[in-house]
């Protein structure tokens, strides 16, 4: 019995390690790739002269490709999209959790359906619209279109957070002499802070990782890292080492963000799952 148990344990460990290798290998490969000098790119596997040259190139002169600007664009566009979604989405989530009004369920479903629709189905008309409206390749245009990604997420997740709060807390605030707006800001909002942190991070990652919208709706001025990193593959010779370095650099902000608000994240994602 114990032998069998131990054997099962060893097998389980082995399976886990196998999966671990499988999952981490692409990332390790990217790291290796980014450290290779250009002349050893295709001639070596694991033994090569490591160099930070690729990173220097990507963050420096970049061979005519303004990667640092793409990076800043990504930051501006993603942060902007999340901020706008919070601004609009938190009141919307609160209202839809607290009040049933005519068509409220339909409205919520319509919002959610933005997430069902593949981005490619709307991209051509959007491209035409953006060209006509002068939104093509602008921050405003990108932040606007990313609302399709971030807004439904924020509204739907925050709605369930607000629904889990008993309305009696805000009612108590009303009787304490606060207005409805103050009851929202002083009572309801502070109590869903962990949820706001968690959902903001998720929305930021989705916005940051979005590829199709910047691919079609930007060209240079507002282009983001996801599309920008590919620029290194163009030209006469694909520069895989630069692409890998660019990709790894572009992972840093979401990673840092996730680590800093980890404390909130765990609380936020488990909040509401358990009735206190």
């Amino acid at each position: 019995m114990t032998v069998r148990k131990r054997l099962l344990g060893v097998l389980a460990d082995a399976a886990l390690i196998l999966y671990f290798v499988f999952a981490l290998f692409p990332i390790a490969w990217m790291v290796i790739l980014s450290l290779k000098p250009a002349n050893q790119l295709f001639s070596t596997y694991f033994s090569f002269t490591p160099t930070l040259g690729s990173y220097r190139t990507v963050l420096g002169d970049s061979e005519g490709i303004p990667f640092v600007r793409f990076f800043v664009n990504s930051l501006v566009v993603s942060v902007g999209a999340v901020a706008l979604s919070l601004l609009v989405g938190l009141p919307a989530a609160y209202a839809s959790a607290r009040w049933r009004f005519k068509g409220s369920e339909n409205l919520m479903f319509t919002l959610l359906s933005f997430r069902f629709a593949p981005e490619l189905t709307v991209i051509i008309p959007l491209f035409v619209l953006y060209q006509k409206l002068g939104l093509f390749d602008t921050y405003v245009g990108m932040i606007w279109v990313l609302q399709l990604v971030t807004l439904p997420l924020i509204v739907w997740i925050m709605r369930s957070y607000f629904a889990d709060l008993t309305p009696e807390l805000e009612q108590a605030a009303l009787l304490d002499g606060y207005t409805r707006k103050q009851a929202f800001f002083k009572v309801a909002l502070p109590l869903v802070k962990p949820g706001v942190a968690a959902v903001s991070l998720l929305a930021f990652i989705f916005a940051w990782n979005n590829f199709v919208f910047p691919l079609i709706l930007t060209s240079n001025e507002a282009q983001t890292v996801t599309v920008g990193a590919l620029s290194f593959l163009g030209g006469d010779r694909p520069k895989y080492n630069l692409t890998a370095a660019a990709a790894l650099v572009s992972v840093v902000p979401p990673l840092l963000l996730a680590l800093t608000i980890q404390r909130y994240l765990v609380r936020g994602l488990s909040f509401g799952a358990v009735k206190s």
Partner: protein, 361 residues
């Protein structure tokens, strides 16, 4: 002071309030008593403006409150769930009304006021704690304190003592009534505990299925209950209700003929009725109308004893001083007496509802 005129409220197919009428006078402590689901909390929230009635009028000081926001009604409410702000300390919960635009006080005055109320409620030492780390009894006091800390036209208290254990509940019941602000301020107090209602209420309203069945002083509710259900709700052990019919001379006879009582019923002979008599109104020694039966069981309640007596097919319980019951054993024959003025007469309970009290001739 508080007036509710024909208030109706439905949540989908469920009727919460059904033409409710209620008047609470200035300075009065009014208890609203009813089982859960009777519409007690909805009534309070309607007065507070947290629920909008489908029809009917809410009056405060004779003013129609339609369209007046909760924060403009000037009433304070203690929720059954306490509704304390979980992210704040006890102090911040208590001071919350005094920081609001309606009741703002300068910080120093607010602090003095909070400390005075906390002292009054015996929670002065807890003020720095987050409310999550307080016991139920302590939370209840904070919730009550948040009501008392600010000036109010009326206090609305929703089962403030229901989550406390029996001992604490009894202690708090005495304390609540003794608080000066509560004595001076019109208070609408909701409870499902009839003992609490009788102990606290200047007047009590009995609510059932979204309507007020009876309103009155404790004497009125006790001696002239509107129907059998109201009679059953008050008093432990419960009132004895014996089924029978009205006789030719206005008396009462049980179906087996073993119990006859001089009730002077204002009802035609043959009417199906219930005779009600409270256990403390039956005696083993005092003079009165006599009945004979056998002892079924006795139970010591402390200084008094509850004796259950078999009268024909019926059982009645009575509460007697311990001295009167010495030597009583099951199946012993026993003689009971009752004074005819303590008998209550009701229509028989029907499918439409509990039987109503019938007047006497």
């Amino acid at each position: 002071m508080i007036g509710l005129r024909g208030i109706s409220k439905a949540y989908g197919p469920v009727t919460a309030l059904d033409g409710l009428e209620l008047d609470v006078r200035e300075g009065e402590f009014f208890c609203l008593l009813g089982p859960s689901g009777a519409g007690k909390t909805t009534t309070l929230k309607t007065v507070a403006g947290l629920e909008r009635p489908d029809s009917g009028t809410v009056l405060l000081d004779g003013e129609d409150m339609a369209g007046v926001e909760p924060y403009d009604r000037g009433v304070a409410m203690c929720f059954e769930s306490y509704a304390l702000y979980p992210h704040k300390s006890a102090y911040d919960n208590l001071v919350s009304p005094l920081r609001s635009p309606r009741h703002r006080l300068p910080a120093a005055e607010a602090r003095d006021r909070v400390h005075a109320v906390a002292e009054l409620l015996g929670i002065g030492a807890l003020l720095d704690r987050p409310v999550g780390r307080l016991s139920n009894g302590q939370r209840q006091r904070i919730a009550l304190g948040r009501v008392l800390v600010r000036p109010a036209r009326a206090f609305l208290l929703d089962e403030p003592l229901s989550h406390l254990d029996a001992k604490l509940r009894q202690q708090m019941r005495a304390e609540v009534k003794a608080i000066g602000d509560v004595q001076r301020t019109t208070t609408l107090y909701v409870t499902h505990d009839s003992v609490e209602a009788l102990a606290l209420g200047d007047r009590t309203g009995v609510i059932r299925d979204g309507r007020i069945v009876q309103t009155g002083t404790r004497e009125e509710i006790w001696y002239e209950p509107h129907d059998t259900e109201v009679a059953r709700a008050f008093g432990r052990p419960r009132i004895n209700l014996l089924p029978g019919t009205v006789t030719e001379d206005g008396g009462f006879r049980s179906p087996d003929g073993k119990v006859e009582l001089p009730v002077r019923a204002a009802a035609p002979a043959g009417t199906q009725v219930l005779v009600g008599v409270r256990p403390r109104d039956l005696s083993l020694t005092a003079p009165g109308h006599e009945l004979t039966g056998t002892v079924y069981v006795t139970e010591v309640l402390g200084r008094s004893v509850e004796v259950t007596v078999r009268l024909g097919d019926q059982h009645v319980s009575l509460v007697a001083p311990r001295g009167d019951t010495a030597g009583l054993r099951p199946d012993d024959p026993v003689r009971l007496t009752v004074r005819p003025e303590n008998l209550l007469l009701f229509e028989a309970d029907g499918p439409e509802g509990p039987g109503r009290r019938i007047g006497k001739r």
